[in-house]
Amino acid sequence: MIELISDTGERREMTINMGPQHPSTHGVLRLELVLDGEIIKKVKPHIGYLHRCFEKYAEEVGDYAKVIPYTDRMDYVSAMNQEHGYVLALERMLELELPERVEHIRVIVAEMQRIASHLLGIGAFGLDLGAFSPFLYLFTEREKILDIFEKISGARLLYNYMAVGGLMRDVHPEFKTDVAEFVKTFRPKIKELDDLLSYNRIFIKRTANVGVLPVEVALNYAASGPVLRGSGMKWDLRRNDPYSIYDRFEFDIPVGEGEMGTLGDCWDRYIVRVREMEQSLRIIEQALDSMPDEGDVMQAIPKRIRMKEGEVYVRTESPRGELGYFIASNNSASPHRVKARAPSFVHLCLLPAISKGSLIADMVAIVGSIDIVLGEVDR
């Protein structure tokens, strides 16, 4: 039997395993919690349940292009952004010039993927706090994005759509109208989400002042993306270190302002994601306007990738934060070394720092608010 009180009558701490099979650890994360009652004294994340040897595979596969499907599987809810980062790194090494049409399609799908990923992230966050219905409402919207992706790439989750120097295939003829239609129908849904979840009093009570991440701590841990912006730091690689054609678009960088409680709490991180979706819609609209209707998306794809000796590090803004690819080449057919800098891994490291002294229920909220994907943590 479980003993909470020892023979001498002192309070004893209880160690409990949260995961790997637990409804709200977003995959197969195992958290070792040391509890005093329901108050968390210590958290220790255990990872590795989804380790698939991404880096070793990339070295052994024998072709730079064959790594692309594997990048999909790192962060499987934002596969387009993962591919985008990897192909950008290779293109920078090869010094390729890309057709305008390719750049525009890439930006559109990357921003749509960002919306899809945030929809899943905040939907699952609501689910963790017991709000079941918003999750399904958001999934209806995510479904529309996946339908468009299915039309352009043939797959719904892991697309293998971007190629070095272009795209695997051209978009379907109605692509522009499909996306414009989605943008039009999705905008009012953000308002609906605000009514249902963001400004719900119980939701605010559960997330405000919980898991406060001060900006210095966030910087010390090298946090990025919505986690860092939730702490009030205006840092977005699309603006601060523009890649692709992001420097041409107008968009704001939403940051946490501590509206409902302390700056950098779970609610701030949440609302940053909601507001980012609106900005993504703005980028999509602008990109749709300037996207050329004609053009061969495969013209710049090299027949064989002949890489010079050298190294490259390219960082992109994935929905979860700074996704960096370090690629070293040594003249052979496959990369000498591929290292992915995964934002989820960094954010998981934050967990012990911001969850000490909170309740189990807060733990669930914190894990939900940093929005990790275990495929990316373990790679």
Binding site: I2, M14, P23, S24, L129, A131, S133, L136, L359
Partner: protein, 337 residues
């Protein structure tokens, strides 16, 4: 006093059970339909033809066939016994519910007191299940539930007391009979909720408390699936788990029916003598109860849940003081008018 139907003891025993079982099957299907409706989807549609009406029967058959798993290090007797005790507690409480003007299980003069006392056993059986499972998640769920139910019994009882102050009787049949007729403002039925403005406040407090008593969102902390896996039910499977579900739904109905008796005139028809009589009485009574059950489902599929400390805060620093102040105000109102 209306004449009670003269029916044999066997039927007395079987009638509430039949009502509960039929209700549970309908309510579980209904809850999934309500959830589907709220979430813009269809819910169960396959089993039995029309809108999947036989879904809960199919689920029940599946649960009966499942292996009865008892954890190796559990306290076997308590583990096996807890679900049945929980159901027995909520079933026993139905004895004093006046289902219609012609039927009440046991017409005793301490009805409400008996009901509140018997439902307290629910807490005991949850702790029993939690402790016997020998699982840390179960234990946490059990402790939460004990704290929650013991706390929320106080505002429940205080609001029930306000009605007792007005009615002057603990017998639920008498309480219902006092609400017959349509005299308020010439057309409103004489239900307690219309009789006294403070009783409306009492009903709001009562409803919040029964949400917590029956572990419904936003107070479903004992079994909050995203925090405690499944709370005290974690180790249960098959028929024993079904017993918990049955008891939970029965408890929802019981407390809703209690609310209907205390505030909404029980089996009284809202149209005076029109559509009244024992059978219509049963219809109106169940309708009122099921409406409250529907509101509970509605809330469940809309709101997130509270945290355990916030739950306690709501109870001890808002509901309990408010319910006692309200009790005094109701008593003063009765004294003056």
């Amino acid at each position: 006093m209306t004449t009670l139907l003269n029916i044999p003891l066997v039927i007395h025993l079987a009638l509430p059970l039949t009502i509960i079982l039929v209700y549970a099957l309908v309510a579980i299907w209904g809850e999934r339909k309500v959830a589907g409706f709220i979430q813009d989807r269809l819910g169960p549609m396959r089993v039995g033809g029309w809108h999947g009406w036989a879904q809960s029967i199919a689920d029940l058959l599946k649960l009966i066939q499942k292996e009865d798993i008892i954890p190796a290090n559990s306290s076997r007797f308590l583990f096996k016994f807890a679900p049945f005790m929980m159901f027995a507690a909520s079933y026993a409480a139905f004895a004093v519910i006046p289902f219609s003007s012609g039927y009440i299980g046991s017409n005793i003069n301490i009805g409400v007191f008996y009901l509140l006392a018997v439902t307290s056993v629910l807490t005991l059986s949850i702790i029993m299940a939690a402790w016997a499972s020998n699982n840390k998640w179960s234990l946490l769920g059990g402790m939460r539930s004990a704290a929650q139910m013991v706390s929320y019994e106080i505002p429940t009882i205080a609001t029930v007391l306000t009605v007792i102050v007005v009615s002057g009787s603990l017998n639920l049949m008498t309480v219902t009979e006092m609400q017959s007729g349509n005299d308020i403002l010439g057309f409103l039925p004489n239900w307690f909720i219309f009789q006294n403005p403070f009783l409306i406040v009492a009903f709001v407090i009562f409803f919040i408390s029964i949400l917590a008593e029956s572990h419904r969102v936003p107070f479903d902390l004992p079994e909050s699936e995203s925090e405690l896996v499944a709370g005290y039910q974690t180790e249960y499977s098959g028929m024993r788990w079904a017993m918990f579900m049955l008891a939970e739904y029965a408890d929802m109905l019981l407390l809703s029916l209690l609310g209907a008796v205390l505030f909404f005139g029980g089996w009284n028809s809202p149209f005076g003598d029109f559509m009244s009589g024992p059978l219509w009485g049963f219809f109106w009574f169940m309708l009122k109860g099921l409406l409250l059950v529907f509101v509970m489902m509605w809330i469940r599929w809309t709101l997130p849940r509270y945290r355990v400390d916030q739950l306690m805060h709501i109870c001890w620093s808002i509901l309990i003081p408010l319910s006692f102040i309200n009790l005094i105000l109701v008593a003063l109102w009765e004294l003056i008018f």
